[in-house]
Every structure is written in C-alpha cells, then in structure tokens.
Symmetry: C2
Subunit: 119 residues, 2 copies
C-alpha cells in the first residue's frame, strides 16, 4: 500500500482533505446524516448558502461517495439527498467540529478580545 500523507502536496489525500475540511461540507454532511432531505429544504436550513454553492458542494460530496442523490420525477421534480455508509463514518467526526465551535465560541471570542486589545 502506498504511503498516503496529507502533508505531501501531491498526495490525493490533500485534495480530499480540501473537500471535507470545509465549512459547507461540514454543515451539509451533518444535516444530511440526521435524515434525508431535499435540495431547497437544505438550502433553507443552511442559512446564507447560495443555490450554486450548495449545488456544487452536493455534487462533489456525491462524487466522493459520501452522499446519495435520488431524483424523483414528480412535478416539480424533487431530489432527495441522503448519507451513505461511508459518509456516515465521516459525518460523526466532521459534526464534532461544528459542535466544538458552538461549545467553545465564548472562550474563543474572549481570546480574540484579548488579542485585539493587546495590539
């Protein structure tokens, strides 16, 4: 087996890290891992994301095998996104980052104030 190393610029893991160590990917994976969800519902829940960016992010996550996309020929057509078994193994880890942010934001903001006033 080849020695995969995210610290090497040319290693494919670096590109993958760029996909998953990402604000939008974190929010999407977390939400989708809870329950399958449709495009515009997801868009409404992830406040501030544009349709284009959401569409691109979903496509990338689908390509990486982390989420499933099912299109139904209803009118208007509906598309449902769900987590894959592979995606689920990542979702638990990536959602821990968001949860950490929510738990520690006050400590971080205090640190920022200290840093800014020191300057």
């Amino acid at each position: 087996m080849p020695p995969y190393d995210v610290y090497s610029a040319s290693c494919p893991t670096r590109l993958l890290l760029d996909h998953i160590a990402d604000k939008w990917a974190a929010l999407i994976l977390w939400r989708v891992s809870v329950q399958p969800i449709r495009f515009n519902q997801l868009r409404r829940e992830i406040q501030g994301i544009s349709t284009k960016v959401l569409s691109q992010a979903l496509k990338r996550l689908e390509r990486d095998g982390l989420i499933d996309r099912k299109a139904f020929a209803t009118v208007p057509m509906t598309v449902e996104y769900s987590i894959t078994p592979l995606g689920l193994t990542l979702a638990s880890k990536i959602s821990a980052i968001s949860e950490w942010a929510e738990s520690n934001i006050e400590v971080v903001m205090a640190a920022q104030s200290r840093y800014d006033s020191a300057a």
Copy 2:
C-alpha cells in the same frame, strides 16, 4: 445563554467554523499539537503552503486562542508555535479528519471513478 447555532448565517460560530473547518488549519493544528515547532520548519513540513498563507493562518489561530506564539531574540530570531490547552481539545477532533482522509482515500477514489464513468 444565547442559542449559538452554526446553521444561522449571522451567528459568530459560523465565522469560527470557517476558521477551523479549513485544510490549512487542520494541518497546522495537527502538527503543532504534536510538538512545538518553528515557522520555517512548519512551512517545510506542510508542503505546498506559501509563507504568506501560513503567516495569515497562524495569526488567525493565535487570535482565536488555539496556538501560542513565542518569539526569541536570538540571531537570527526564532519563533516557536505551540498548542494551547484550548487548541488541544480541537486538535484531536480536527486531526481525525485528516486521518479519515488517509484511511478512506482509496474508497473515495473508487467512488469518483464510478461517478465519472457513469457520466
């Protein structure tokens, strides 16, 4: 206590998530959490990062209270970066993402091939 929510665009946690759910932040925090390290050594280990981007990222992580910067008046001057107790609680979670990438890259690449050939 206010209800912090990363899914709200205006919540400060969203900004924090943008700082930490980041390729470079992940690589830096992981490496710095192992052992204190100097600027140029870090730059050499994280292949492909430029001095400018590394400098910016380090400053942001320091401002957020995740890493410590200690400058020594040696000649030439040396600067050492180390992990803070707060940063350590995040480093374990964020390094799990990089490790996941290294462990699952082959499955992901297989998924990508399948996706691309389907098109």
